[in-house]
Symmetry: C2
Subunit: 200 residues, 2 copies
């Protein structure tokens, strides 16, 4: 495989997708070119359709159809507007919705404070968050952020920015994930689970 | 994110790529739709171009430009046709080429014997391999297969099929990968490294 220009271009493009490294991009490109079932054509058509008919929700930032913006989650009358769940990525909204335990609204930051990836305050949907909090009379902002150092820093930053708004700020509980064992848990998770211990 | 039909379709399509699960596909889809730099458009164009101008090499199975088939590796006069390196996937050819230690020809099987993924003998480019071995007067077939159980079974199968051809069949050495520690190696790797020990 002499790596013709078109192949390099396709690989470079696929490697820009989240979680895709150079090696995975190479395997994907090979599959896309060789696949006899027309996977490449199918993907082109799905992308065409999706970019034409989908858009980011102007309010929460999740994906919605271009004809329904703000999205159904933002306009649904049955959801509690006093609760606002803040996530890093719109895909996180899907995961929380699947868990079924939440009936409030959402707000996607589109990232987190990450000096490593030169993502700063100006890259997050923070101003929009502050505006929503005061405009929609939010009573509790639930930070459903990831659990790494950058997400921790982002959580502290948002808490401080919201300090003057008179809104309660909480964060998802830390602890042992379901199905895991004490033996396989890292020390930080264990100490946080210990700290947050509850009545069984 | 109510998961509109176009979004589901894009996610399902991305999840068909090798190494991509449902979760990764969701993240990719969100990025593709939201990305302001036009990643989706870029990908559509790269796919369009690649499917139009690239093809599988009729001989080795790797990716080549439609106007150069068989590919440069198959036609290069400086490469040794007596050596034939058999790989599972065309992307493996790229990896071996980068390692720089090989100057023979290649043959991609396009998979391995895998009952789990209902991939059998008829799905592999085996007949083409047998024909090449006798036609090109190959002296050594080097099996550069992966190191899992299915690849092991495939290696044994090919060795038996080639037994009557009078060709030498070898397989890449098993052992410790560079940069790893004894402590972190699994028992099978360690016992294979022990069995294949060499003078330093």
């Amino acid at each position: 495989m002499a790596g013709p220009g078109q192949m390099d271009r396709l690989i470079a493009c696929l490697a820009k997708l989240p979680g895709v490294g150079r090696r995975s991009a190479e395997r994907m490109a090979v599959r896309l070119i060789r696949e006899r079932t027309g996977l490449a054509r199918e993907l082109v058509s799905a992308l065409d359709e999706a970019t034409r008919e989908l858009a980011g929700c102007v309010q929460c930032g999740s994906i919605t159809s271009a004809s329904e913006n703000p999205c159904a989650l933002c306009t649904h009358p049955g959801r509690d507007s006093r609760l606002l769940c803040v996530v890093e990525d719109p895909a996180d909204i899907l995961a929380i919705e699947k868990s079924g335990g939440y009936q409030g609204r959402y707000h996607a930051l589109m990232g987190k404070l990450s000096p490593m990836r030169s993502q700063g305050i100006q890259d997050l949907r923070l101003q929009a968050l502050l505006e929503r909090v005061s405009r929609d009379r939010v009573e509790e902002v639930i930070l459903a952020l990831n659990t790494d150092v950058e997400s921790d820093a982002t959580a502290v930053f948002i808490r401080e920015r919201l300090a003057d708004c008179g809104v309660r700020v909480t964060r998802l509980a830390f602890g042992l994930p379901v199905g895991s064992g004490i033996m396989y848990s890292d020390p930080v998770t264990l100490s946080r689970a210990m700290k947050g211990r509850q009545m069984p």
